[in-house]
């Protein structure tokens, strides 16, 4: 594992042959830090380098509050377990981690991160930054079942503004328009499956906090959701405490 620098993509280029040959074994870890702290960022990077030094990959800071680790962890069977393991190696109560398989879109994002100029990053208000700076909480519930939308709206109403959509074709446009802190996403919806929407959302927002909410909790669906970048999975009807737990994990929710 090596420490990368912005405006230096030679280290990334050196890893490309391995990524192309072993694509299924590479993962992207997004670490969003709750505060802009160079000291904390340095500590996190040092811990990651120490704990994962024997893995092939690259760690680089994107901004004072975000680090990306590109790692060849191998073929994972439970991304939730790996995510928890990484969280345990970091300073407590300061980060939110998203772990997912490397995809072509994620690779593109990594290349943009590394080659982007500092001034473009300063001027670029990405969706995560906008959420972090926003005062209100916004939660998106995407489910074609009226009972699911109504109960989630009741449960989440005290937390912030709840936006709901009932068709899969409306989800992405609603996500881009409202930039929610969390999206609760059903699997089976008309128009487009929630599982397919995970990648669509992460393509426009790599830091999206997605919780899949479904009565269909087959193991394959759960694993696919987590591999593609969902932060979690809830079986319907969800237990209120578990919903609140996910809300608590979302750094941008006040």
């Amino acid at each position: 594992m090596i420490l990368g620098e912005k405006k230096n993509d030679t280290q990334l280029m050196a890893l490309l042959p391995s990524m192309k040959k072993f694509m299924n074994e590479w993962q992207v870890v997004n670490i969003n830090i709750a505060e802009n702290s160079p000291l904390l960022q340095t500590e996190i990077i040092q811990r990651l380098l120490q704990h994962y030094h024997h893995y092939e990959g690259l760690i680089y800071p994107v901004s004072p509050s975000k680090i990306v680790m590109l790692a060849r962890f191998g073929i994972l069977h439970n991304y939730a377990v790996m995510k928890t393991e990484i969280e345990q190696k970091l300073p407590q109560h300061c980060c939110r981690i998203l772990l997912r398989k490397l995809s072509a879109m994620a690779m593109k994002q990594v290349q943009i991160d590394i080659s982007a100029r500092d001034d473009s990053l300063i001027n670029c208000q990405n969706m995560y930054t906008q959420r972090a700076m926003r005062r209100e909480n916004v939660l998106l519930v995407a489910d074609d079942e009226r009972m699911a939308r109504a109960t989630m709206a009741t449960l989440l109403g005290a937390c912030g503004t709840v936006i709901d959509v009932e068709n899969g074709t409306q989800v992405l446009s609603s996500y881009v328009r409202h930039n929610p802190d969390i999206v609760f996403l059903d699997i089976h919806m008309p128009g487009k499956s929630g599982l397919d929407l995970i990648q669509d959302i992460i393509t426009v927002d790599p830091d999206a906090f997605i919780v899949v909410l479904s009565a269909d909790s087959m193991k394959d669906n759960v694993l696919k959701a987590l591999e593609d970048g969902a932060a979690g999975f809830l079986s319907k009807p969800p237990q209120p405490k578990k919903v609140q737990d996910y809300i608590g994990q979302c750094i941008t929710v006040r």
Binding site: M147, A148, T154, A215, D216, K236
Partner: protein
């Protein structure tokens, strides 16, 4: 499996025990169930039928929110009948109808 016809404890948790809010959600349950049940009725065909399973899935989901385990179980059985005869589908449709009628009667009879 809980043998009681319903269990509103989850709705009570969602609403912090607000009786009016619970009644509102029960009303939405009735609307949701009725709509999906009408879909199920129209899909009692022979052979493969994904629309039948989709409707049953919606019924199963709705039943879960009011703790109607027996009804939910019946809907789950129906959901798994991707390929079935019209007669088999009609039989379970009638079972669901009976269980739903009992549920509605029990919900109406409870003291709020």
């Amino acid at each position: 499996m809980n043998t009681a016809l319903y269990d509103l404890s989850l709705l009570a948790e969602y609403t912090n025990g607000d009786a009016d809010a619970i009644e509102d959600l029960i009303g939405i349950f009735y609307d949701s169930f009725d709509e999906a049940f009408a879909e199920l009725e129209g899909q009692r065909t022979d052979g493969e039928n994904d629309a039948w399973s989709v409707a049953a899935h919606k019924l199963k989901g709705a039943a879960g929110y009011v703790g109607a385990d027996a009804l939910k179980h019946l809907c789950a059985v129906a959901q798994d009948m991707h390929t079935a005869s019209a007669a088999a589908r009609t039989a379970i449709y009638r079972d669901i109808a009976g269980q739903y009628a009992d549920l509605r009667a029990a919900l109406k009879a409870r003291v709020t």
